[in-house]
């Protein structure tokens, strides 16, 4: 009897969690802890969300925000890995890049936006700049650590079969480092989405971030919550894409880890 319930709970864990969150939300609403104006009921939000989905401008904003986050993530991942490779090849450049990263990394995305508006205007350059500047660090840092951590026996194996510099990097070091690099890219996916929303809020003319800001000032609370739900969906989609790529490129590692558990 009990194991049966455990199996069911495991199988339906996602719907159960969602039901729990919605249930707690609704209880808070019914108890009237927060003013209804700022904390609408689940049905109210659901209706507002349903109406938004029929609104073309919302769908367009959703797609815009998703594309920005995706393109920013791709750019940041490529740049981060490139910086890690350069660091691995040249100790001098490595130290230089590390200083820059130490200075820039703690700066939150919001702090970049005002400066970037003056430098780059309100267009796509702004987004690229802000997103990449805050998203590049996890792939870079993980990449540096992973490349440095490739074992001497693996390197000697590559060299024994005639690989040098680039060949060794491409055929031995990068494949060995890829699983750890992907840990950084997954983290970067979340940061990329945050950076897009913040940039859109502060300097945007479109996108979900901009809409949330607009609706919030108009006190359209149910719609704000609906938009937040769309942001969450974007996060899930982005993570899904990264995981798909990760499975394709480092599936061996995932299976190896599953085995050793």
């Amino acid at each position: 009897m009990i194991p049966g319930i455990a199996v069911l709970a495991e199988k339906f864990r996602v719907p159960i969690c969602i039901a729990l969150v919605l249930g707690v939300w609704q209880i808070v609403f019914v108890l009237g802890v927060v003013n209804e104006k700022y904390f609408p009921s689940i049905p109210t939000i659901a209706v507002a969300f349903g109406q938004m989905l029929t609104d073309g401008s919302v769908i367009a904003a959703w797609a815009t925000t998703f594309l920005r986050a995706l393109i920013g993530l791709i750019g940041a991942a490529l740049l981060g890995v490139a910086l890690a490779i350069v660091s691995d090849l040249s100790p001098i450049l490595s130290r230089g890049i590390r200083y820059v990263s130490d200075v820039l990394q703690p700066i939150p995305p919001a702090a970049f936006v005002p400066m970037a508006v003056f430098m780059l205007g309100l267009g796509s350059k702004l987004y690229a700049f802000v997103i990449i500047l805050v998203t590049v660090w996890p792939p870079y840092l993980n990449g540096v650590a992973a490349l440095a951590g490739v074992g001497p026996v693996q390197l000697n194996t590559g060299r024994m079969f005639g690989l040098t510099n680039w060949g060794l990097l491409w055929r031995v070091k990068l494949p060995a480092a890829l699983p750890e690099i992907f840990t950084g890219i997954r983290y970067a996916a979340t940061i990329s989405l945050i950076a897009v929303i913040v940039s859109e809020m502060l300097a945007g003319r479109d996108g979900i971030g901009f809409m949330i800001f607009k609706k919030a000032f108009a006190m359209r609370t149910p719609e704000v919550f609906g938009l937040m739900f769309l942001v969450a969906i974007n996060g899930v989609l982005l993570n899904g894409l990264v995981n798909l790529l990760r499975r394709g490129l480092t599936g061996w590692h995932m299976r190896m880890m599953e085995r050793s558990e």
């Binding site: 074992g151 026996v153 693996q154 000697n156 194996t157 060299r159 024994m160 079969f161 005639g162 690989l163 040098t164 055929r171 031995v172 494949p175 060995a176 890829l178 480092t250 061996w252 590692h253 299976r255 190896m256 085995r259 050793s260």
Partner: protein
């Protein structure tokens, strides 16, 4: 310089200044083509370092290593090492077959299909038919060792440098692997240099045993093993020549230990 592999006055040290540690000093050796030579010596004396120098993976500070008459400056084609840490030397993102093919990347005169056929043939020869599509981490340590050996042979190797390949296996597997190695050496025309700390194994496998001294190491004695081939796990180990050679090596190693204890 005669012999397929030669070392003349090789010296190697790690570190510099106060932390400098001499590992090899004035080492000479010459291995003839087709020979099976065992290297024995006290642990930590520099056997692995020596193999790295002989293979071109490390460059000696002094002296020269020659392979087929050429001075070795980088790992040459025709020479391969089976590393002491063999399980880490297999690339975990490649299947066993692809690991063996990786060893064949410098092989010329074969197209992809021929290389694959050759790789499968060698995997079968080391006793791993049916495991080509597995990943190294899906098979046992003993099987990983066989993949590493197969990869070495497949690289169109003429000279195999084996670094304590059987240190981690149980007694029965050990005997089987010894005979397999001897068999592979003959079948694939491999000259072999085997590092081992097991004196009986050194004598059983070899045409010649080179005994290395304590660090900084050099060859302190050469013992020719005058025993017929193929060797036999029972009769070879009972032959007077085997017992003589074993006696000589063991006595030498004991005297080195005592010398170290006294000094």
């Amino acid at each position: 310089m005669t012999g397929i592999l030669t070392a003349s006055d090789v010296g190697k040290s790690y570190g510099s200044g106060d932390t400098r540690m001499a590992i090899i000093d004035g080492l000479n050796l010459s291995i003839a083509k087709g020979e099976f030579v065992s290297l024995v010596g006290p642990s930590g004396c520099g056997k692995t370092t020596l193999l790295m120098c002989l293979s071109g993976l490390l460059s000696p500070n002094l002296g020269k290593v020659g392979f087929k008459g050429q001075v070795v400056t980088a790992p040459p084609i025709g020479l391969s090492v089976v590393f002491q840490d063999y399980s880490r030397s297999l690339l975990p993102w490649k299947t066993n077959l692809d690991n063996v093919l990786f060893g064949m990347r410098r092989v010329t005169g074969m197209d992809a299909a021929q290389k694959k056929a050759r790789a499968l043939e060698i995997l079968e020869a080391v006793g791993l038919p049916g495991f080509a599509g597995h990943y190294p981490w899906q098979v046992s340590g003993g099987m990983q060792q066989r993949v590493a050996i197969a990869r070495g042979i497949a690289s169109q190797s003429e000279l195999l440098l084996l670094d304590e390949p059987l240190a981690a296996v149980d007694a029965q597997t050990r005997a089987d692997m010894q005979d397999l190695l001897l068999d592979l050496a003959k079948r694939f025309d491999q000259t072999c240099v085997l590092v081992t700390h097991d004196v009986e194994e050194a004598v059983y496998m070899a045409d010649r045993v080179l005994v290395l001294g304590p660090r900084p190491t050099r060859v302190v004695r050469e013992i020719v093993v005058d025993l017929p081939k193929p060797r036999d796990q029972i009769s070879t180990r009972e032959a007077p020549a085997f017992l003589h050679a074993r006696h000589e090596v063991m006595e030498l190693i004991r005297s080195m230990r005592q010398g170290k204890a006294l000094s």
